[in-house]
Subunit: 274 residues, 2 copies
Amino acid sequence: MRFKRSERIVFMTQYLMNHPNELVPLTFFVQKFKQAKSSISEDVQIIKSTFQKEKLGTVITTAGASGGVTYKPMMSKEEAREVVYDVIERLREKNRLLPGGYLFLSDLMGNPTLLNRVGKLIATIYMDEDLDAVVTIATKGISLANAVAGVLNLPVVVIRKDNKVTEGSTVSINYVSGSTRKIETMVLSKRTLPENSNVLVVDDFMRAGGSINGVMNLMNEFKAHVKGVSILVESKEVEQRLIEDYTSLARLSDVDEYNQQFTVEEGNSLDKFS
Amino acid sequence: MRFKRSERIVFMTQYLMNHPNELVPLTFFVQKFKQAKSSISEDVQIIKSTFQKEKLGTVITTAGASGGVTYKPMMSKEEAREVVYDVIERLREKNRLLPGGYLFLSDLMGNPTLLNRVGKLIATIYMDEDLDAVVTIATKGISLANAVAGVLNLPVVVIRKDNKVTEGSTVSINYVSGSTRKIETMVLSKRTLPENSNVLVVDDFMRAGGSINGVMNLMNEFKAHVKGVSILVESKEVEQRLIEDYTSLARLSDVDEYNQQFTVEEGNSLDKFS
């Protein structure tokens, strides 16, 4: 089958988008289209310059016999700001405040379009961290972790708060919940995370940081290196925070449960974009 | 800024891929590229024919003032077969069998590349069902449901087995687990699913179908219409199945826990592809 340049470009664009952060050998396209390497390189150049012009990400070409092309999705600061303010606007909706100063987030965590955009934003911040896995805590963090991991081409590792028979042998730790001061348990299946992994921790909500602190301790048990922590919404309603180094998209404060009033402002994520 | 046809095609391909099952008005591209509608229509035609030729999905164009273009990702039967046998091969790996005839699936559920392919397969089966939401059960079903919902451009609704303060007011039902015969509880936040929704139920594993049967009862409480049930792996090791109408990618049988032996064969999903 013969392909015109424009058809090759359609195919290659969709292929690279379906394989983010993965080295695709040029020979794959050369063989598929039965074209000279030079023509394929020109096709790649067109995709690369368009992605650059439109700030859709970087297309990296590596030369040599084992050379190829890698698509790194990236978000521009302008788009990141749009995403952050989209999240903030949604958070400000009425009736989102739940007893105890929690926010109802299940609808946001079930919105694939929003998740994809937030995932791309967080992935952009940690793109150069040489990560092995994205770690999260069940239940609501899972969707967000998947969105981030999809962009970074990494596995997702889910820490659970119950011990299920379907996890095989596990490592567990106890931790003190920062807000309730209760002792809780966290469990991770041994075989989901190899020792010495570099991990990014992702979650939907953080108050004092007790859960995230628990994750840190559990990561120690796996000899993992936590290269970053990223939270969708953090609450400023705490006296002392157990975790210092993290990024968040939005910050909740001035919570007045009785009158269902609160303030949402932008977190520090945008500072990470130049 | 001026754009060449090849650049327009790169942009439009990525845009459509990022907005599956969404009507994109032609005027959006007309304005972005400052081009006549006829040129943009020709660009769309090139994308459409390449997607068709490569079996990457359907690009539907609707005419008129409010007309536009909708990208419906679809999987060919050949690719679906590849995906099913990729899943089966992974399931056959040693040490996957857990006590009680369960399979360790957390690694598969944490693999974004695999999830995207499985999600596209399941989405293709139910593409024409006029769905409003994808429903799943915490914890491991969530990633799969997200992958399916991303393709279908639908929200994900997560049923939990615990009642968390972060869900707001909830509806709960009790059900008898088909395998353990124990009474368990299922909870769904009221505001995550409007009444009379058409839903697709997705989960990672099914034995007797007690959980899925529970989901059916819970969906009744929400006056929802279950348009389909899709499972990654079903176990044939049951005397009586509570659920009859579903699709599965793989089937587990002949489980011999003592010798860590079992059989995995293809489920009925491929029958749904013509």
